[in-house]
Amino acid sequence: MLVLSRKVGEVVTIGNSIEITVISYDRGVVRLGINAPKSIAVHRKEIYDKIAETNKESSNVEFDMLKDLLKNTAISSIGSEKNKLEHLAIHNTKKD
């Protein structure tokens, strides 16, 4: 890992298009200002970790429990027309 020391107000650049400015330092909290192109997503790492964890949980969902829950769940279809992709899913019927 590259480690750099910077004072408040100083800047680090990454590539040609990303700039990170140290805005302030106070009681162990560093505030950073980040300039990056819109195509580059910038988020706190905890958010990424949480989403990766949620994805893992989703991939391990207990199928039978989900089926049971759906039987007792009335999900309104109001609003569903906002999505255009419904017809692009492959339909699969139950096989016994």
Binding site: H43, T73, A74, K82, L85, E86, L88, I90
Partner: protein
């Protein structure tokens, strides 16, 4: 030149047995999903026992699949802003089940965006704090309806 002809791929899924997929039904996720960066090709499945959910099944490893829901069925006011172009793209959110309470939750913070024509997909993370990674999918039992 790419061939125009449709080829059929067979995958053996965890929950739905063997499924035949036409190659033009495949979605390519260049960056995968968060935590699943190496899984790049998926197919969307609509299984009758789990309507109205959809399943995003990995072609690279068909034992990997994610139950999805149309986010507007969870929150009719869902607003992903400029992250999605609803003229050409569709959105789904990832479903998980609560550990203790028997409730479905949806990750409204990180929707999957699928290009209808491009067949490309990506998982985006919304900057807004308005949306939760575990938004309950409000449900009523049939007795209460």
């Amino acid at each position: 030149m790419e061939k125009q002809e449709v080829t059929i791929l067979k995958i053996k899924t965890l929950h739905f047995g063997e499924i035949e997929i036409e190659n033009d039904k495949i979605f390519h996720f260049p960056d995968g999903l968060l935590g699943f960066e190496k899984f790049n090709n998926f197919v969307l499945i609509n299984h009758e026992e789990t309507e109205p959910l959809r399943w995003l099944i990995s072609i690279d490893d068909p034992t990997i699949g994610f139950p999805l829901i149309n986010p507007w069925m969870v929150d009719i006011k869902y607003n992903p802003g400029k992250n999605i172009d609803l003229e050409t793209e569709a959105a789904f959110v990832v479903i998980t089940l609560g550990n203790k309470e028997r409730v479905m939750t949806a990750n409204m913070k990180a929707p999957l965006v699928l290009g209808v024509e491009t067949r490309e997909g990506r998982q985006i993370v919304m900057s807004s704090d308005k949306y939760s990674t575990k938004q309950p999918v409000i449900h009523t039992t049939s007795e209460e309806v």
